[in-house]
Amino acid sequence: MSKLLKIALGIFTSIGGFLEVGAIATAAEAGASFRFQLIWAVVLGTICVIFLVEMSGRLAALSHHTIKDAMRERFGPRVFMLTLVSDVLVNVLVLAAEIGGMSLALQLVTGIGFRWWALPTGILTWLLLWKGSFGLIENGVSLLGMVALAFLVGAWKLHPDVHEVLAGLALTLPAERPVHYWFTAVSILGAVISPYLFYFYSSGAIEDHWGVDEIGVNRAVATVGMSFGCVLCIAVMIVAALVLQPAGIQPDRFEQLGLLLTGPLGRWGFYLFSATLLVSCLGAALELSLATAYSFAQGLGWNWGESVHPRDAARFSLTYTIMIAVATLLIVLGLDPLKLTLFSMALTSLTLPVVTFPFLVLMNDRDYCGELGNHWIGNTAVIVISLLASLIALVAIPLQLMGG
């Protein structure tokens, strides 16, 4: 494969991984409640995730270890298990949110309640994994995910005030509803800095047998892909601010988000929004299920691989099967997908240091990365941003739960 094609494909994949139910819902919530005031959170999260994705690719290319594999051998079983437990808790909830997102997209189009759609979408996700040839599915989903560009067109057509957008880049304190403001901010950070994204990325790099030659491609994909995802996320926020906020709509139900693109794009906007939600959630659901199974397999030494037949990686396949079953059940039981999404994204923020700190130790260990270990800028950015996200979450989650 030519280098250019590789970069293009990688960029598509990372945009697909970036924009999912979490990013769409949190950005829309932020736009409807605080207009452009929370753009800084999207940008801050993006800076952190660019560093983390680049690091996970570099670790794989230089040490030929995935993150989880390296964590187990560097820190032993206890630290590994701590990260595994936090992964499973967060990933089950986020996976349920993605299945809820798919179900809501289908509810918008068909009018049939989302709980009825949870089982079919859960089974679809599982079948795609069980029947293998994942590479094709992944690239297909990523390409289809480009319908998300509709948000960019929508934001453009609404002519946002450029000065106001730029002002959103600066961290400002809210004039009212401070708890909601900070809770939404950590939800955005959690949605953007998704640990499953870089676990998944490092596993893919190992499966593609990356070496030192890929370091440049890796840097390009991480930077361009994530930045583009960031722009789309900001576009969602702008559209929500200019469509929902003037209409006085506080999206406390997902159905209201269906109106997002009807403002700028009419009837087509409605279908484009549903399609974007469906495809991006499917892509994220596939990545989440695999990422969790990878974590178990790589830390415990099982066979794993996205194209391995279930018979040849029995425990690996069983792990994602159970994950999908539990997540589907949560939606069938009637958990509210929008609340679940915002909460699970905030929870992701809370657990960030558990994931990022051991990872940073690996990236600064010469046994793994040799001369190409981390620069202090990357270390500082990841430490500061993940600590900040976790601390705000520690305060905002209980307050939000008490208030809401």
Binding site: R72, G301, R311
Partner: protein
Amino acid sequence: MIDLGRQVLDQQLVDRNDLNMGKVDGIALELREGRPARVAAILTGGHLLSRRLHPRIERWVRKLTRGLAPSRVQPLRIPWPQVKKIGIDVKVDFAAADAMPWEHWVRDRIVRRIPGA
């Protein structure tokens, strides 16, 4: 010189057919009278791993898996001379087919019974 703690313990075990067969969960030393200790074998197994997490977790694991066919309290011992290469993984002259009772149990009892497998 091999640093047992960093280069062997908790590393990926790979069998003679390049199949993953668990992690190195423990290392057995042979203590010899008047002479330095010698590495006798590397060990792998869920019970041993759970003991390293916490003795209480080991008791839970024992209770949970009691009665299930592949549950084996003693870890698998791979004699040190069968360790062929220590690098990114620990490669051993051994067949994973004989070493992964749980993988086979899950495959035969669960995965094969799911349609499409």
